[in-house]
């Protein structure tokens, strides 16, 4: 009887402790999901750079495996006051962020958000981003919202640490 009670208690304890810790700023410190999927559309390898600033750029690969054009519009996050789609324009030799209304992705195509082309810009970050953190961002597509775990890489990172892996 006592043994059964002990087992029940430990099971209950195990269930009540989350697999990762999460704070109010929408960050958590644990295993991130590398793939998010909605109606045949996948977002993989979402990442950003560690920063003390109030702004950060989020990059990922969007794979449109559906049979219709999907439009990337922007996003939302508890970790930032605003999330907007921006283009990184290199005219004149200097990188300049240009707000974009949307980017459509044809069926079977991939859209790469990377430091040389496109990003989701988080502004008004509620807390500094530290390497190893995971930020939750809700990516807004015309067909709905997709929850994405954005991994915080080093401040000078040039890509996701899993880039090149297939999921």
């Amino acid at each position: 009887m006592l043994a059964n009670f002990a087992v029940s208690c430990s099971l209950l304890a195990a269930l009540s402790v989350p697999a990762f810790s999460e704070d109010a700023a929408g960050h958590h410190h644990g295993e991130a999901e590398h793939v998010s999927e909605l109606g045949g559309v996948r977002i993989v390898h979402a990442w950003t750079r560690a920063t003390e600033d109030e702004e950060a750029l989020v990059f990922f690969e969007l794979e449109n495996g559906s049979d219709k054009t999907v439009t990337l519009i922007g996003g939302e996050s508890e970790a930032a006051s605003a999330v907007a789609l921006v283009g990184i324009d290199f005219k004149g030799g200097e990188a300049k962020l240009v707000p974009l209304p949307q980017v459509p992705v044809k069926p079977g195509s991939e859209l790469h958000l990377d430091p040389e082309s496109l990003a989701l810009q988080l502004t008004g970050l509620t807390a500094p981003l530290k390497q190893g953190d995971v930020v939750e961002v809700e990516v807004q597509l015309d067909l709905g919202h997709l929850d994405v775990d954005v991994e915080v890489e080093a401040a000078d990172a040039k890509g996701h640490s899993h880039a090149g892996h297939s999921h």
């Binding site: 324009d89 030799g93 240009v98 044809k106 195509s109 991939e110 859209l111 496109l118």
Partner: protein, 440 residues
């Protein structure tokens, strides 16, 4: 409080931030000067010292100028090259080609460096030209040349996109007509026969009979296209014995639309979209196993960031050189102070306060440093101008090196550090015994 200051700092215009940094960097030099010379007027004596030992002084100034010029020239040159290459690529929004190396294709299509690359076929071109939001899809067919000038086949729309209105003459309207870049040494009406290939391996007989006449001149672009001769892409195909891109019933047409069945192929297509966002959509659409799409600006930025790493190493070397020269100059000053130790001893014997002698020696050293730094600024500017002109001549990319804030900051930091260190020879001069120096 620091956050408030940081916010205030971030709200300032970049030029104001740079000006503030410059003042802050110069501040130690100004404060040292005010402190050392307070209550005295050492300049008359400094002037006579400068004149008395003018050749030695000139050598010190020249040494400082060379080390400062090296640092200034390096940063100005690197920036000029970065801006020049970026400006030359500005008109090339998106390039679509057969899969391969983005860098090779960028050098070939944007900077017209000869390269053997696979071709995109008519179906691929048609898909690009008819894609949503495409404003311009111009084939860029390179491979031929005339006396060092690449002969590039394209469309009238591309010429307009590249340079706007022609400075002279008119647009090509048929095969056998060409538009010359601003730096091509061919006048309107001049005739030439393109060679197959470029450089020493070019076959000058391959296109015998394909005489082409210059009918217009493009405005200068500051890019290798200034040295190019642009012809209708139909002419390039025809001289190679291929179909001319149009069905037989429209064989006389120049420019789009092209018929995919009669389209022999093109190494690259310049794509321009109606809106910026559409460029990203098109890049995504044409990144397939049969086509490669890239932004030349982004590829260039990757190269620039590599250059930036090299620049950091070179800047560090320049700073090390400056420090070494400064150490040498300061050691030299200590020796120089010995040279005029008798005069200083005489001053002391006449009743000049020790601090006045200190002010004279420090001011003397500071004038040499400031003169060397200013001369170095001019020398660096002149040197980078000469090197820029040579790079422009060799690459046809307009490189303009100009002085900007980083150079002024570098010099301000150098002056502040060295005039502070110049307190050392001034201090040493005070420790010299007056009587033996008077007798020496």
């Amino acid at each position: 409080m620091p956050e408030l200051l940081l916010d205030y700092w971030q709200d300032l215009a970049p030029a104001t931030q740079d000006a503030v940094i410059l003042v802050l960097l110069l501040l130690p030099a100004i404060l040292t000067g005010l402190f050392v010379t307070a209550g005295y007027r050492p300049l008359a004596l400094v002037r006579s010292l400068l004149w008395r030992y003018r050749w030695t002084n000139l050598m010190f100034v020249a040494l400082i100028a060379v080390s400062v010029g090296l640092g200034v020239g390096l940063t100005a040159q690197e920036r000029g090259l970065r801006q020049g290459t970026a400006r030359a690529a500005e008109k090339f929004d998106l390039i679509v080609s057969a899969p391969g190396s983005e860098i090779t294709m960028m050098f070939a299509a944007v900077y017209l460096q000869p390269s053997d690359v696979p071709l995109l076929d008519g179906a691929a071109y048609d898909k690009i030209a008819t894609a949503e939001n495409v404003e311009l899809a111009a084939p860029i067919a390179f491979g031929d040349s005339f006396e060092g000038s690449p002969v590039v086949g394209t469309t009238p729309q591309f010429v307009e996109h590249l340079t706007g209105a022609l400075t002279e003459g008119q647009m090509f309207a048929r095969p056998g007509e060409a538009i010359a870049g601003a730096a091509v040494d061919l006048a309107i009406g001049a005739e030439f026969t393109p060679a197959h290939g470029s450089g020493e391996g070019a076959d000058h007989e391959a296109h015998a009979g394909a005489t082409t006449r210059i009918v217009g001149k493009m405005a200068a672009t500051g890019s290798p296209w200034d040295k190019a001769i642009l012809v209708p892409v139909e002419a390039v195909w025809e001289v190679h014995g291929l179909a001319n891109g149009h069905a037989p019933e429209r064989a006389d047409q120049i420019g789009p639309p092209f018929d995919p069945d009669y389209f022999p192929g093109t190494p690259a297509v310049l794509v321009r979209a109606e809106a910026l966002w559409a460029n990203y959509a098109l890049k995504s659409e044409f990144t397939t196993d049969k086509t490669m799409a890239f932004f030349p600006g982004a590829v260039l930025s990757r190269l620039h960031s590599l250059m930036g790493d090299i620049r950091q190493v070179m800047s560090l070397m320049a700073v090390v050189t400056q420090v070494l020269v400064t150490a040498g100059v300061l050691t030299g000053l200590v020796v120089l102070v010995r040279l005029f130790s008798r005069r200083l001893a005489l001053l002391r014997a006449l009743g000049a306060p020790r601090r006045f002698v200190f002010a004279v020696v420090w001011s003397y050293a500071s004038v040499l440093i400031a003169a060397g730094a200013l001369l170095g600024l001019a020398a660096g500017f002149a040197a980078s101008g000469i090197i820029s002109a040579e790079i422009s001549r060799r690459t046809d990319i307009l490189v303009e090196a100009s002085l900007s804030w980083p150079e002024f900051h570098l010099i301000a930091g150098f002056v502040s550090l060295t005039v502070f260190l110049a307190l050392l020879p001034a201090l040493l001069s005070l420790n010299r015994p007056v009587i033996p120096d008077l007798r020496s």
